[in-house]
């Protein structure tokens, strides 16, 4: 239900790896929060999987996602659509991420899990808690840099307020 949570404890002591994973997660949050979404696909491998799913669907074992990008090109298309086609009231996110754990090695990469909460501020200045939940990641090294091979954002919320256009 929550994926394989087997933990290899020797990774807890690998502080260099941890710092690099934290930097990737922070880069992701800052690219979104600073509205530099065009830079988002580059944090993913070309064949990456990016999904935003509610906890309800996830725990019921239902496959439906709010956003489902199979490859960073689809993520880039989402950004293009948001910039050129979709209509919505301007708003920004502020991510807080915490409780990062590098769970285990998988293939050539690492499974990681962290928590997030997102405060959304609308153009009229009002802020609200928009979402909280967890990231389930598969992180790999490409040309000396860490990238997401997989990022699944599981939202605790069942109800999306108004709409979802900015990636979570």
């Amino acid at each position: 239900m929550h994926g394989n949570l087997t933990v290899s404890h020797d990774l807890d002591a690998d502080l260099v790896l941890r710092a690099r994973v934290e930097a990737l997660c922070a880069a992701y949050a800052h690219v979104i929060d600073d509205d530099r979404l065009e830079e988002l696909p580059a944090l993913f491998t070309d064949d990456a999987l990016y999904r935003v799913q509610t906890r309800e669907n996830h725990e019921l074992g239902l496959p439906l996602a709010l956003m489902y990008c199979d490859g960073s090109a689809m993520l880039a298309d989402r950004v293009t659509a948001m910039r050129t086609a979709n209509i919505f009231e301007p708003h920004v996110y502020c991510h807080s991420t915490s409780a990062l754990r590098i769970l285990r090695r998988e293939g050539a990469g690492w499974r990681a899990r962290s928590n997030f909460s997102i405060i959304r501020t609308m153009s009229d200045g009002e802020s609200m808690v928009f979402a909280c939940g967890k990231y389930l990641d598969l992180i790999v090294e490409v040309d000396g840099a860490l990238r997401f091979r997989e990022r699944v954002a599981i939202l605790d919320l069942r109800r999306v307020d108004t709409l979802l256009v900015i990636p979570v």
Partner: protein
């Protein structure tokens, strides 16, 4: 017009003979909201409750709403589907407070009254008191204290309920032509792929109207045009039920030389446009025709959707005068193979709360709501395509179906 059912004066008078103009007070008036609960949701309407596929086994239940009324939908030991108001006959607590589950009977945890899966009261805790003291008097008849039942009708796995004893069957409610268009989409046993829920910052009627407003589709939702989804060769039209209450809006493309209708044929709708990956625009012709979009409404609050291979039902629940919830139950067929399962997940990027072609519907109703509240007597106008509910073959530039909604609303409300 006077309140027909209670003798109270209606809180509101319709300003015109026709339905081509609507006063903004209909979206903001709390008395009207309360009257809608009685005259629409508990009145002469069939309301969507869920899918048979959600409660396949005896004892399976889900909870839902008809208007403000909380509802339990449950399959009993004989396999029949029953619907009851989710309100204990004792002190009115919710009997089921979980969204879904499987039970042998329905137990209200407050004082442990027990109901069978048809809503009959079968057990009362401390019925005979304790030590001969307290308990029920002899004149208390359990038969009089079941859960309030709704009538149920099922069509192609969609379960509907009504509070009205006088309603015709569901098929007669929406009429043969619109039954045929449900049957066109729901051709096989269904599988639930998941749920979306979206809070809309507006009165429920603004979303109900939006679904019937075929005029806005290519104007508000720019994804189509920006990425070349709708080709100029596309045709389509709208159909209304004889009553005007329900509608179908559809888009159909021209046949191409290599189309094989009814066979597994995948075609990208956007080969040469600006998407880097257009797989989400692929369309496997699975329904035996070239219809790309079919949006069908059942008054008051259901939408049956086919957008390429994205199938769903959308249930609208009012949550107060200026808020509503839209629940999307996203569907596939039981016999989908792995490729089709994957395609449906990708196409579903287009719809839902984050849908590339639908997200605008989440915010536009709120913009009307915020502007409407300033003046309940000011009015919107709906002049496109006439003043009545005439159907429109070949063009979706009409507001006839929206006017049909208001015809249904007035007939239910007696306003």
């Amino acid at each position: 017009m006077d309140d027909q059912q209670t003798g109270r004066p209606a809180p509101f008078a319709w300003p015109d003979a026709d339905v081509s103009s609507v006063p903004y007070g209909v979206y903001t008036d709390r008395d009207l909201y309360a009257l809608e609960q009685e005259r629409i949701f508990r009145g002469p309407t069939w309301n969507f409750l869920g899918l048979e596929a959600e409660i396949p086994n005896p004892g399976d239940f889900k909870t839902t709403f008809v208007g403000d009324a909380p509802i339990i939908l449950v399959r009993d030991a004989d396999g029949a589907v029953n619907a009851m108001v989710n309100r204990c006959a004792h002190k009115g607590a919710l009997v089921c407070f979980k969204p879904r589950g499987n039970v042998r009977e329905l137990t209200c945890v407050y004082h442990n009254w027990v109901y069978d899966l048809a809503g009959n009261l079968t057990g009362v805790a401390f019925k005979r008191g304790v030590g001969g003291k307290g308990g029920l008097r002899d004149d208390f008849d359990q038969k009089d204290h079941g859960l309030q039942r709704l009538r149920v009708d099922i069509h192609r796995g969609l379960v509907f309920g009504t509070f009205s004893a006088a309603m015709p069957a569901f098929a007669d409610y929406i009429g043969a032509e619109l039954i045929a268009s449900i049957d066109r989409v729901l051709i096989k046993p269904l599988r639930v792929l998941g749920y979306h829920s979206q809070i809309l910052p507006n009165n429920w009627k603004l979303y109900a109207e939006n679904n019937k407003d075929s005029y806005h589709a290519s104007l508000l939702h720019l994804f189509h045009n920006t990425f070349g989804v709708v080709r100029p060769t596309m045709g389509g039209g709208i159909k209304l039920s004889d009553s005007g209450w329900h509608h179908l809006s559809y888009t159909q493309r021209e046949a191409l030389a290599d189309d094989h209708i009814g066979k597994e044929k995948v075609r990208s709708m956007s080969e040469s446009y600006k998407l880097r990956d257009s797989t989400m625009m692929q369309h496997t012709l699975e329904l035996g025709d070239l219809v790309t979009n079919s949006i069908q409404t059942v008054f008051p609050t259901l939408v049956v959707q086919q957008i390429l291979n994205a199938l769903a039902v959308r249930q609208l629940i009012p949550r107060g005068v200026d808020r509503s919830e839209l629940i999307w139950t996203v569907l596939g067929f039981e016999d989908d193979d792995a490729d089709m399962a994957e395609l449906r997940l990708k196409v579903n990027n287009l719809v839902g709360p984050a849908g590339l072609i639908s997200m605008e519907d989440g915010c536009v109703g709120g913009w009307v709501q915020r502007a409407a509240k300033a003046d309940p007597t000011a009015r919107s106008i709906m002049p496109m395509g006439g003043r009545g509910i005439e159907p429109s073959q070949g063009s979706r530039v009409t507001e006839a179906a929206v006017r049909g909604f208001w015809k249904g609303w007035r007939e239910c409300m007696g306003i």
